[in-house]
């Protein structure tokens, strides 16, 4: 199996800097430390990318942990179907481990197609089913013949790598089995693909009105809020925007290689980044007319949003915030918070590429701000205390660390309820920051009990 993925590791985000020595690469690609690591596996990563496809069923070929502790747990939103909220599993048992579980794949696919009007089925290989050597692609082919539906194998055993690597495996499956299998009914001259936004808490929906007003047509979203057929159309787009995802650059590169579609990276977080990202679309489409339209639009929007933000920025001004996210978000979020007038005292660089880190370093140059490579709850709390932070912005797993330390907190992970992208998202973020910062509960929590 390892050989199949060689091309993914070649363009792995951790080795993007080709000039680096092998030793340097190895350091950045270091394996997780046993007993001192926390993060998802490749299977988790593959699901992050593919689950948002709402009208497809997602069948997990594995034992209980892979599905039972994992289904109905993503903040993605979709109007094409709710199947991403369901947990389909072959529920591998001891018997299957001994005798193989391929037949269960075809049986379960037939059952799913019988009971639910899905458009396609993704079948995920997990650790145990990879170890017992089940031939998932062949079972998928057979299931496809029996159901008349596309049945897509996703070979994503958890042990093969981390979450980022799983993202790539998913992108690869889309490129190999889905993209280019259908033609769109109509096309426009401003058709684009968006890669890497999963419509968490409706974030893509926060951007869609912007695209619509500018006359930009999102032909295929990979994969936030999308349908299976929409993904199949992606090969007809004129350009691709990759949103906050280094891992899925491999998919954008694949689209370029196979169909000649140019791509650029962007972010929907913060006014400056939105403008830059929109302009990069105009550049890729080589349209001065669109460029002018964007500039006028952005000027008007920025003024509107700044007026709306005013009551909140007054409360946020100068407040000290530490950002503990990762990857591309580690810099894109900083810009957004600074636009709200906050003082970002540092950020983590987990899962960030050298390029991302370089970007933050340049931004922080000449200050005492901190880049934290790897942290845990205790390290985080120490930083917050030492730096006299007012607030922590991090993923949901750190929420309770923050609460135990009595620090206001805003959640930016995938299970959250509020979207922070686009212009409306900017206002939403300001509100959420202000609400936690001004809550009277912190005072109560810090008050002494009568017996203390």
């Amino acid at each position: 199996m390892a050989a199949k993925f060689d091309h993914l590791t070649e363009v792995d985000s951790c080795s993007e800097n080709q000039k680096k020595s092998t030793a340097e690469k190895a350091k950045k690609c270091a394996k997780p430390t046993p007993g001192a690591t926390m993060g998802g596996c490749a299977f988790d990563g593959a699901q992050i990318v593919l689950l948002p496809v709402g009208d497809a069923a997602h069948l997990i070929h594995g034992p209980a942990t892979c599905v039972s502790q994992n289904w109905n747990n993503r903040g993605s939103r979709n109007l094409h179907g709710q199947y991403y909220k369901m947990g389909f599993s072959t529920d591998v048992t001891e018997m299957d481990v001994v005798f193989g579980g391929e037949k269960k794949i075809t049986d379960k696919c037939v059952e799913i197609a019988d009971r639910y009007p899905v458009k396609a089925i993704f079948v995920y290989t997990t650790c145990v089913t990879a170890m017992i050597g089940d031939d998932v692609p062949t079972a998928c082919k057979k299931a496809s013949e029996l159901t008349g539906l596309p049945v897509i194998p996703v070979e994503s055993p958890g042990f093969i790598g981390n979450k980022n690597f799983g993202n790539k495996i998913a992108g690869d499956a889309l490129l190999e089995y889905v993209i280019g299998t259908r033609e769109p009914e109509t096309t426009t001259k401003y058709d684009i693909n968006i890669i890497g936004d999963y419509n968490i808490a409706g974030e893509l929906w926060q951007m869609m009105p912007v695209f619509e007003e500018l006359g930009i047509n999102v032909l295929a979203s990979l994969t936030g809020g999308t349908s299976f057929n929409e993904i199949a159309h992606a090969h007809r787009a004129k350009c691709t925007l990759v949103i906050c995802s280094k891992a899925l650059l491999t998919l954008a590169e694949g689209l370029k290689r196979k169909y000649g579609i140019p791509f650029a990276e962007g972010s929907f977080y913060g006014l400056g980044e939105i403008e830059k990202t929109l302009l990069s679309v105009a550049d890729m489409l080589d349209s001065d007319e669109l460029r002018d339209r964007i500039l006028k639009f952005v000027e008007r929007k920025n003024a509107e949003v700044l007026a709306e933000l005013a009551p909140y920025t007054a409360q946020l001004k100068g407040k000290r915030v530490f950002v503990y996210t990762g990857g591309v978000k580690s810099w894109s979020t900083i810009y957004q918070l600074e636009e709200l007038g906050m003082d970002v005292i540092g950020t983590s660089t987990r899962k960030s590429t050298e390029q991302d880190i370089e970007r933050i370093r340049e931004h922080f140059e000449g200050t005492q701000k901190m880049l934290l490579e790897k942290g845990d709850g205790r390290i985080l709390l120490n930083i917050l205390q030492k730096e006299k932070a007012d607030l922590l912005l991090a993923g949901g797993r750190n929420m309770y660390t923050s609460i135990k330390g009595r620090y206001p907190f805003v959640d930016v992970n995938q299970e959250r309820i509020h979207g922070y992208a686009g212009y409306t998202g900017m206002v939403e973020l300001a509100k959420q920051l202000a609400y936690t910062l001004t809550s009277p509960v912190w005072k109560v929590a810090k008050s002494k009990a009568p017996w203390e």
């Binding site: 007993g35 926390m38 998802g40 034992p63 650790c127 299970e415």
Partner: protein, 443 residues
């Protein structure tokens, strides 16, 4: 949807063994669960329990990566143990296997021996292990299997009896509210209850500081001295097996309760405490609680009659909840769905009991007025237009779930009130719809 024989699962009710095993470990002060598997197993389980408890949930992984590591030496396991002990200094390391390590056939006992030889400096940390592959059993059995392993390996031998000490073995799925309620009652008889394990102390929010191992719970010493109890109380049918094992190990007699939900089970429990303590003057507070519970049940019985209900939950809770619904409230359990086969499933007073998943709630629950299950049942209960009363694990869309009380008289009052309120609202709504519809037609 027609009912056919199902392959695998759709919307699983069951959780995997490492979840139950970790839950058991989290009730032991200073313990750290270490999963021998791919990092996803732990990431999923940790996120799941974090959302359920709304607390920091410590656990670690040996982070098996690539096939070479998996098929090769147990370097990851020894290295993982060393790193966890070095960094977090747990009092007890609880090793749990996953599907991966069990497919390759790991031998924990040998690995622990190798570890002790290689790192004598960590002799102060106790290590226990349990085989918990996720292609066998479920979280409920993962919880009981791990507890059995913990007791066996920390070998509570026969010892001198400590007067008044009572061990309570709480069932899978009990809340911190339940444990605290039971503790309160036992203490009010002048006895000293020790909960083995005790998640009310670690996962209820009472730990208002940062921690990286279980911040509270029973102590390792309390496990080692389990043999000093006068009596073991198994609060849940499967917990009886553990009590029996303990009796073989240390000779402590035991009493098993199907659950502590409902009036009649609580009556039995109080009788036992009266006998154990020799106190016939039951505290006034408890007498009052019983009267209140019965009053709530009387107030609600107008809405209980003729109602049907679907219950999807682990076996111990299914037994307790069904007996309360059927025997004491008069609600018919149309379908009981649970996670493993056991001989006592036949005793559950339901029209049908199956080992199944949450899709079965929709397939077999047509016409019920109420579904009792975890948060994940919301989709299927919406499909059959029945309200969902959240219970079990996970409940991630309610605040304060973990302090709710279902056990003993107070729990019976709250539980009957919650069920009654849902049914009352539904009755009023349905009556209005029906009456207005009939009236319109008559015009």
């Amino acid at each position: 949807m027609e009912t056919k024989i199902k392959t695998g699962q759709t919307n699983p009710l069951k959780k995997s063994q490492i979840l139950g095993g970790s839950l058991a470990a989290l009730g032991i002060k200073g313990a750290m669960p270490l999963h021998h598997g791919s990092q996803g197993c732990t990431a999923f389980t940790k996120t799941f329990l974090t959302q359920h408890f709304r607390e920091i949930v410590p656990m670690q992984t040996t982070a098996l990566t690539d096939i070479a590591t998996i098929m090769g030496e147990d370097w990851n396991l020894l290295e993982g143990m060393k790193n966890v002990i070095e960094k977090h200094k747990p009092e007890l390391l609880v090793l749990l296997s996953t599907g991966i390590s069990d497919t390759r056939g790991d031998d924990f006992e040998r690995s622990i021996k190798d570890f002790r030889k290689k790192y004598p400096e960590y002799a102060g940390t106790k290590i226990v292990y349990c085989t918990t592959p996720d292609f066998v059993d479920d979280a409920h059995l993962g919880y009981t299997n791990t507890l059995k392993a913990v007791f066996k390996q920390l070998s509570p031998a026969k010892m001198q009896t400590e007067k008044g000490r009572v061990n309570v073995l709480p069932s899978f799925g009990m809340t911190a509210g339940d444990i605290d309620e039971i503790r309160d009652i036992i203490e009010s008889f002048g006895l000293r209850p020790v909960f083995l394990p005790d998640i009310s102390d670690s996962m209820s929010g009472s730990a208002d500081f940062f921690y990286s191992t279980a911040p509270g719970g029973c102590t390792v010493e309390e496990i080692e001295t389990a043999g000093a109890a006068e009596m073991n109380i198994a609060a849940g049918r499967t917990m009886g097996e553990i009590a029996e094992q303990l009796k073989e190990l240390n000779g402590v007699p035991f009493v098993t309760f199907d659950s502590l939900i409902g009036i009649s089970e609580t009556d039995r429990f109080i009788e036992l405490l009266m006998k154990l303590s020799g106190r016939m003057d039951v505290p006034a507070k408890i007498k009052k609680q019983r009267k209140i519970a019965i009053d709530v049940m009387l107030d609600g019985h107008f809405n209980f009659g003729g109602k049907k209900c679907a219950v999807a939950i682990e076996p111990d809770l299914l037994l307790g909840v069904s007996k309360f619904l059927h025997d004491e409230l008069g609600i018919t359990v149309q379908i009981g769905i649970t996670t493993f086969n056991s001989s006592f499933l036949g005793e559950i007073p339901a029209e049908e009991v199956i080992k199944g998943d949450l899709e079965d709630v929709a397939l077999k629950g047509g016409g019920v007025s109420l579904v009792i299950s975890n948060t994940n049942a919301h989709l299927t209960s919406e499909m059959i237009h029945a309200p969902l009363l959240r219970m079990g694990i996970p409940v991630k869309d309610r605040i304060g779930q973990f302090i709710k009380v279902y056990s003993c008289y107070r729990g019976a009052a709250y539980f009957a009130a919650e069920i009654g309120s849902i049914l009352l609202e539904r009755d009023e709504h349905e009556s209005w719809e029906e009456q207005t519809e009939n009236y319109r037609r008559s015009l």
